[in-house]
Assembly symmetry: C2
Homo-oligomer: 249 residues x 2
DNA sequence: CAACCCAATTCAACTATATGACTTGTATGA
DNA sequence: TCATACAAGTCATATAGTTGAATTGGGTTG
């Protein structure tokens, strides 16, 4: 299945390769193609959409640049999966002040049902008061607690999510979204500020009350920039830092 | 002047378009092309390097994606200049917690000559103890102090830089680097942590001693990832945030 | 059965060419 | 003088095809 041949001149008069890109993204959002199995070949896509292979290539080029697709010469083009590496490099920006990056260990602190407050609902683009899940995680690096996460998920999108499901996963949480709910997080926007540790967070992170913490507010987005997760992280930056590098591979 | 036709098979056997990209970058680093005047047309570049226009295009595509070049249909391709907009969007990540982004106002606090310490020298890739300039700036947003900058520059690269030159500029500091010293900052890497305001910074930023501040350590890089500036920023995030969005235009 | 070879398929790189759109400067005409 | 029209140069889009490199799978051969 590839979808319809191409929206016949949608009035906006987009370039052909943009139309192809949109068509591909629609299929991706519909879960047409799953990670692990190759998309139809560039040749077949070109035939299907009635465009040249170069045009398909340009469309895929952009999706690859956005890290939504991955090409493997000789094998095919694939949906980028949320493997450990990807989560680590594109969605986890905490690094030791010295040393090299390292896979965090997760400890689930709590899981609860709640109602979305006004601000959260606006960010998630759901109705105020809608059902949400609230998850609190503690991330350990080298065995020591470093990050305290509070995650908010729109319940509607994550049917039958439970503490058990969360606890028994052996993958990253974004991989869980992807595999169990077909939700592929492709981008995140983060806003950072400084805060002071209160009693609860101080205890969990092993710092003094009043210690400086980095607060990260993240919105995770799927295709078409639809928000699917809110996350507030408190980071003890005594021995770790938030790394931001724009502009390079 | 376009430079040599193409390094004849440099052994590494890079794709042609990568070779072209390298050749272009060499010319950019040499200051061959200045902001404001167009590069040779794609046709002429293709003729010069003895490659097809498509190959030139692919090389330029990457440089455009890295925001090093800018294309204008019908006019030509240009070196991206450090206008107010670019500095604001690509190198200044502080935004009001509500409202829209705004151009900061700069106040020069001090200018001094100093010697590079070990850590700074390593980051700037210069000899420990080499001469550096140390600049302290206060950035105001909506008239209120928000960011305290301490900038370290390798003196060798900025001959005859003086307090007077800094004070009399009417542009961004990166524009000064570019116009007066031919140094084009094309990328920055930032590491963030949380800190507490000490006496001096508290006074300048108008906060209490012990208030939480965001500390940003930035390395600014020019072509070939050569570091040219270190900067430590202390940010009062009471009403502003650091914004990080990876992955989308 | 294992090792090897080979063909088919896929993406990667490159060339060549055509057409359209945008900008600029110049010539033309009232 | 001023406005319009036009031409030339530029990048943008799209097509078509060739060659090469990586992978896979199927045979063949020992």
């Amino acid at each position: 299945m590839i979808g319809q041949p191409l929206a016949a001149e949608s009035g906006g008069a987009l370039p052909l390769y943009k139309e192809v890109k949109r068509a591909l993204t629609r299929n991706l959002a519909a879960g047409e193609w799953q990670p692990g199995v190759p998309l139809p070949s560039e040749t077949r896509l070109g035939e299907h959409y009635r465009v040249s292979i170069g045009t398909v290539r340009k469309a895929i080029d952009e999706l690859v640049a956005e890290r939504i697709l991955v090409r493997h010469q000789g094998r095919g083009t694939f949906v980028a999966g949320h493997g450990a590496r990807r989560s680590l490099f594109h969605f986890f920006h905490i690094v030791p002040a010295d040393g090299a990056k390292e896979q965090p260990q997760t400890e689930l602190l709590s899981f609860a049902r709640a109602k979305a407050d006004a601000a959260g609902a606006a960010r998630l683009n759901i109705a105020p008061g809608a059902n949400v899940f609230r998850i609190r995680n503690l991330l350990l690096l080298r065995g020591a607690p470093v990050v305290l996460d509070e995650i908010t998920l729109p319940a509607e999108r994550f049917p039958r999510l439970s503490e058990k499901v969360l606890r028994e996963r052996d993958s990253t949480i974004y991989q869980l979204y992807q595999e169990r709910y077909g939700i592929n997080v492709v981008r995140s926007a983060e806003r950072l500020s400084a805060a002071l540790a209160d009693r609860a967070s101080a205890k969990l992170l092993g710092v003094d009350v009043g210690a400086p913490l980095l607060r990260i507010r993240r919105t995770a987005l799927t295709y078409h920039n639809v928000p699917v997760e809110l996350r507030v992280s408190l980071v003890n930056t005594a021995e770790h830092e938030y790394f931001s590098d724009l502009g390079k591979d």
